[in-house]
Symmetry: C4
Subunit: 381 residues, 4 copies
């Protein structure tokens, strides 16, 4: 008996399975343009810092803005739950491994103080920085007025999975087209991973989408829920939605790859997969200025009933400026991200991010002879 | 010379090779319906406990029934060979690694006491629980009358591989259509893995099939016999048989994925592969109420001449209720299985198990940047 | 510019990438027939012992024959170079790791004594055993008369790669059709791996072919030469040659899978790939009666200028009879090979080896949840 | 909604994923011809030594030439920056792991002395050796006159990625067709990896191309930049360009695989992928005569702002002659490279390198049962 197919499945790809092909023309790295635009705002580099408590606090947001990028402050994290956020962060960083999850659950059960929302935003704005903050869909209507009043420039509405239409008996789901009408600033929504989900969100009028479910270093969504799409395919699919939406509306929505980028090689591949910008957590958590003091954890980690994530210890070896602009003192791709991006663009013959989205990419599993793997093999000889 | 093809081979998939894609619509987890029906019985969750001696004894079966699920008691295990089963289980749990297989072979060579069959069933029924028991095909005719008399609700006929037609010179194979006629209760048969084998069993009139050969945590069938089909493909193929049989007969047979589920992510993927329910061994063996005291082993393990399996030590960290309903204190997907299933269904926009069977699934090998893998890599930095 | 294809490459498969699918009908294991025929000889099991010094000496050959199988004695190994072969074998078994290769090179540089050839053969024949011996193609003309005179039943002509046509300026290559005419006994030739090479050898009139280049446990041919085809594909391709040759000539040539079988699961898969028999080295070297005393090494290992192989230490845990017929005391598939084959054939509904060659096989990478892998993961929990 | 494809990706292959298929005819290894031609020069073996400071200094270049191969001296390394190069090399070899990258950055910031360029070349030429030197594209116009004057035979213009057309505002890119007109000797250019980039370079009139971006043992280009194509596919694509260029121009350009070859098996596969010659670094760094004293590192390693690479410690176990011609005392494929190539060609029935380019190659992931892997598994038994 021939077996009928119950369901079709596509093969998806993650960063470590692909590689970029050098171009027929090469370009001097200083000559490439890596600007990133969102609504009317333009940034001199296409990098966002994740709305993770271990990565972004107000001083970090100010520094990131001064360096040309954009940091997103989590409005539902320790900064708005505790006046003394850094004491809480130190407690998390120093907790033994097997006590971290219960501790996070306890820390994040403290109520959010609305007055702290305004304070944190004003702390950033008073330094002349661009200010972006994140809220979850269920709290957006409640917190949005305060944030606008305090002067935010960009609103990020983010949960593990956010769709254009949410079904619930107990409350009416957030309607982004209505929100966008009352908010005079760019709204970024996420996360999503598929062509149709991204297209539906774009049709709501938002300025950017965050894509990525499951790939983050501090995230165990795939183990707990089985949900997730590898980032190369997810970026490609959302970029295809952007092109489709551009054709049908004439409006360009920024596609931002969020999660799964552990070195500058991955970052370069994100753009070649179609991204307009990337959001980084783990790499930036290694900055000396990061509030996590060498540790980080995801936003789904402290869920009271279904925690998903782990605390990752990464250490703090360099300044944010060195991580972004070098010079690198390590060779694993965690420093001089911008230098690496410019060099890769030069090798691939891409003058702009838009051209980088079109360079050839191949399926090329990590090679055994690459540096570290090779060294690990030495033991056998 | 061109090489003619001797045989075609299909690519099959296991849980760790696939992932679920979030939906265009999302749903509040409390709102999804996860009922499971078998014949005239309805359960409030689609989870069965394996007929393994380390997982189910009469008190565990009662507890599982009270929580809304269904436990299957192995009628050919220690509970029917020994009056004092727990003493024997303690001996197994405490045996050194290299003495386990011979010990299991000895323990399971003790004859089955028919009087204990009735006693164990009545122990479950007297507590008001739904009672399911398992027997092997060769012993079914001998034990079935006793089980019916003692009041069982569901009969499970199970061996490593069970087909609708068994050839033997020494005895006449069990004919399920005849058995079903004389048994007034739902019969579940297993295990099978292919479309045609499942369809043939359904045509015999049974109420449910168990699918899975080789994937269980405590099973070495693939190393010893080379036999086995990865669970995602096996579930899809048997689900295709269910749909075909439904078309030709109008009758709906439950497809139950048995084995290979090591976390709640796998559980969610089983439903997206087409399962109506799942049977769990390893995860439930971690319950404080499980008779295995932190260890478990498979039913093929104690075979006198060809043992297949290993004793797995899993520890006992939480209660059965916490494993099923949380709150979870760990983040690896072994607690709050029902919460995880509801959350995944909500993310994928599935209101019922039937809708969950239709969500998009992709081929997505486990990503290097997932939590635990990433931590393991830290050593290289 | 579109890239023209320089060369096409087929995907090939090894044992650990495939699995057998249970049948729609199952059979009682005692009822299956596993006879193996070669020329006019019939054996009660389809297993040959490799012509490796660590596996076969005259007493082992006699025992293997009595148990129903066939052992091949290497006529160019220690048994024909040294009167006291066991002393030499002990020296090899006890050498430190880093001295093994030079020691093997020295041991095998001792000239072959023609008188020992006759002695060893007569030692086997005098016990009433079937006697098979192996020689390399370059020595076949020189040694063949002595072997026939001493009474061998089967001649095996074997080197890493043997073809029907060998080009050399210094000597005329062996012509198998001529050899077969002057030898009144079955000739087995090997090794080959492709459809065309196997078909060419069959057309020379030989009775059997050995297939396998590169897969053996003690072999590093792939690292040193880059040459080798995974055993499932190699077996399928040679089986296709057998079917083609049968159609064109009416004669059935035995296809024997040699190498790469590390457990009974692999053995079952070899038959499902089309083999008529298998040749085992590593598994049989674990027998208490094996001359290697718990170690073994390949025939290409002691090459004076280009050694290819390693000494593998396997230990000696059971008797040859227990390895072949059980009962097994381990669960990893290295004992009760015949019991495992019969059980797998029963599960797959194959009454004969010929039917086993036709059972469904799927591509199914080793699953993470299989016994040993799972235990290795426990450390992460 | 069906998902439109944003970008197509081809599957590429590395050495460890493929294997050679033995031929229908076999050949005596002594009889195969492995000559390599470049312009009017002919070498008795198709092996080049990498322009790495740890591999080639003037004495090594002389020795390599005497043995029949070709070594390339890096004109921008320690030999032209320091009078006493070996003192600097010793310092690098003995530096602790975490100080290597900063040390390399410092060492390579010392200016190049033009007078040392002439001295090093004359040191090689005065011994009667063929002399090849490498320069980067940006320094080619500046150093070329000196090198020609000093008597070089071959010029290698090499950087991580070199294209026929480089875009820069600050300087006019090197035009190879102009360079070739004024240089009366063969020019080799690299590295490239794609069909179109190779074809464009060939059309500039060069005599050879080096292919390989990312695969070298001491290279982390893929982690830092995400750029790289596995060597089997890269070689095939560049070989396709050679065939196309031969058809359109009648001129044969040598295709040289550079990087990623860690044993003689890989070397054999490079030719079967279409290479005319191979360039070796890591393997030759193991020679007692190599200046690196048992360590090596890549040319991209000491980049001041974006270092890419690691120092690899390989030890020095044998002479260059033994590495090339044996006899081998190890079995992992790092000695007797020429013997291995001749043996593999004999097994595959290839009389010349040109015929070796046409032998069948299959996709065959490294098998679990291969020697070393098997030994690693022993711990589980």
């Amino acid at each position: 008996m021939a077996t009928p197919q119950f369901k079709e499945m596509r093969r998806c790809y993650s960063f470590d399975e692909v590689a970029l092909v050098p171009g027929d023309v090469t370009i001097n790295p200083e000559q490439v343009n890596i600007d990133f635009s969102l609504g009317n705002l333009t940034f001199s580099m296409p990098i966002l810092a994740s709305a993770m408590d271990a990565v972004v606090d107000p001083p970090f947001a100010v520094l990131m803005s001064k360096l040309g990028g954009l940091a997103v402050l989590n409005l539902e994290g320790v900064n708005t739950r505790y006046q003394d956020a850094s004491g809480v962060l130190a407690e998390i960083a120093n907790a033994p491994d097997d006590e971290v999850t219960p501790l996070l659950q306890k820390v994040y059960s403290e109520p959010i103080k609305e007055n702290l929302i305004g304070d944190r935003i004003r702390e950033i704005k008073s330094q002349g920085a661009v200010c972006a903050v994140s809220v979850t869909p269920q709290n957006t209507k409640r917190f949005a007025p305060t944030t606008v009043e305090a002067g935010i420039d960009i609103l990020v509405v983010q949960s593990t999975v956010t769709s254009a239409r949410h079904i619930s008996k107990s409350y009416r789901g957030l309607v982004f087209s209505e929100l966008q009408k009352v908010m005079p600033i760019p709204i970024i929504v996420g996360n999503c991973v598929s062509y149709s989900a991204a297209l539906n969100l774009m049709r709501e009028g938002v300025s950017g989408i965050l894509l990525g479910v499951g790939p983050g270093a501090a995230c165990t969504t795939r183990e707990v829920l089985g949900v997730g799409v590898p980032q190369v395919t997810a970026t490609m699919d959302c970029a295809a939605a952007r092109e489709q939406y551009l054709r049908e509306s004439g409006r360009y929505v920024a596609v931002i790859t969020d999660g799964g980028i552990i070195n500058s090689g991955d970052l370069c591949k994100a753009f070649a997969s179609g991204a307009d910008a990337v959001m980084l957590g783990s790499i930036l958590a290694q900055a000396k200025e990061a509030p996590g003091q060498g540790s980080h954890w995801g936003m789904a980690n402290p869920h009271p009933a279904l925690p998903r994530g782990t605390r990752i210890t990464v250490g703090t070896s360099s300044t944010l400026e060195q991580i972004l602009f070098g010079p690198a003192s390590v060779t694993g791709g965690t420093e001089n991200l911008i230098g690496a991006l410019r060099t890769a663009m030069g090798m691939c013959g891409a003058l702009t991010i838009k051209e980088m989205q079109r360079v050839e990419m191949v399926i090329a599993p990590a090679m055994k002879t690459e540096g570290k793997y090779f060294q690990a093999l030495q033991g056998y000889r």
